[in-house]
Subunit: 272 residues, 2 copies
């Protein structure tokens, strides 16, 4: 107990901040080191080998900060890494896909679940495998949504944004068609578009936030392994990015809910 | 004369292929080595320092192929590189910005020119400087269009694509408002969206294709320096990319007008 080391969290860009926000709420005593690969975002439209290479560099960067746990707050990474990639870690590893799949299985009443994600996540079939391992009777409707990440990274996030609404209507048509009562937001960027998604889908569909589910999983794991920080510690978050810290701070503030300008630093990820 | 070495061309991803297509038509005897940084596209939403670093790696890669000329078929790079970055070259360097600016200045009749480009290109002010150096009386209306590159890279390119049309209507409103008779397509991806742009703008505005202008400039430069290939040589193009060669070949084919599957190779750009 009383492990003061930080939790390491990484993502392709801004999306993982939705998981950081959930961690800050659930585990207010924990220090967090965040890495957002803003110099190479997006991941989800790239090949599996490229995503794996980037993920290994991201994990090595976090390990250099003496983290006690690594969270891949990115569905594309969660769906792409292999045991071989993870063998470089000597600390617990949490990904976002399994907790989200588990939550979807426990939420659905009509056994119809839909998934929206990046092309890489959808193509991997990882959600199908995770869900069918838990319950083979569930029908999964997966839909790749390659434009959602660029829309978020460029600030098209207002609840009534006409471009994002048109794109969402196109992407969500097969979800509505499927009659699913549960939709996995299979990319940590997507909760930032919750307002638009809700307007297009209506209120009857349960939305599963993969970053939030991963944060709950991280808490259990820290408790089980005696890795929690002392409850007298005040958790602080350091942010690292591979492109301008200034642009990152501007886009991160509305997601995190406070200014991160003083704790954001640019690093060279190529060297990890 | 009779220099059989290839011309090196690079871009952040697919956009530079519009320049390659123009080169193949203008200079059918020349070999071309193309590098598309598909593992790190887009460039235009990143900071200047990150773009400069990527451009230096791209140029070092091309030099390793013994090229006789380097063409930055990317407006973001053209607007970002410094003399210091270019000092690593010992061959002629052609960028896309100056030829496009020159052409716009000679085309406009009402002295009102508009520019669409990536945020990095627009922010740099490089087009303003180039145009005003040629004619200080011209009014330039610059508009940043961050979503156009992701739309192209994800195939939203049909002339009547509803998403691209809506985005174009939004981005082009200040262009129409300005009364410009000439519009610089200040990103080599944009000619791929010419159909949509034409529908939104109507026929009265002259579109300047920066890749095509750069190809003309490259031809003059080769002639002046005695670097042309023999007219008995049949030009061949080799394509290199930093992500999957297979995905690249699929997206490149409609731009180049023939299959590139047999001449596309993935390389590791980090090592340059």
């Amino acid at each position: 107990m009383n492990d003061s080391r930080p939790i390491g969290v990484f993502d392709s860009g801004l999306g993982g901040l939705t998981a950081v926000r959930a961690l800050q709420t659930l585990l207010p005593n924990e220090h967090i080191v965040y890495f957002g690969d803003t110099g190479r975002v997006p991941y989800g439209t790239r090949s599996r080998e490229t995503v794996r290479k980037y993920a290994r560099q991201d994990m090595r960067f976090l390990l250099s900060h003496e983290v006690k746990m690594v969270i891949a707050a990115c569905n594309t990474v969660s769906a792409s890494v292999s045991d071989d990639d993870l063998s470089l870690l000597h600390v617990p590893f949490i990904e976002v896909l399994t907790p989200a799949a588990r939550r979807a299985v426990s939420c659905t009443k009509n056994k119809k679940v839909a998934l929206i994600g990046t092309p890489a996540t959808v193509k991997s079939g990882a959600y199908e495998r995770a869900i069918h391992a838990l319950n083979p009777d569930i029908t999964l409707t997966p839909v790749a949504c390659p434009l959602f990440v660029p829309l978020v990274e460029n600030g098209f996030t207002a609840d009534d944004d006409p471009v994002t609404t048109l794109v969402a209507q196109k992407y969500l048509a097969p979800v509505i068609e499927s009659g699913a009562d549960t939709l996995i937001l299979g990319c940590t960027h997507y909760p930032i578009l919750k307002g638009v998604l809700r307007r297009v889908l209506g209120d009857s569909v349960t939305l599963i936030d993969s970053g939030k589910e991963a944060a709950k999983q991280a808490k259990s794991c820290l408790m089980q392994n005696g890795l929690l920080a002392a409850d007298t510690q005040t958790g602080e978050t350091q942010y690292y990015v591979s492109d301008s810290a200034e642009s990152f701070a501007m886009l991160a503030e509305p997601i995190i809910g406070e200014s991160v300008a003083d704790c954001a630093t640019q690093i060279d990820i190529d060297t990890y």
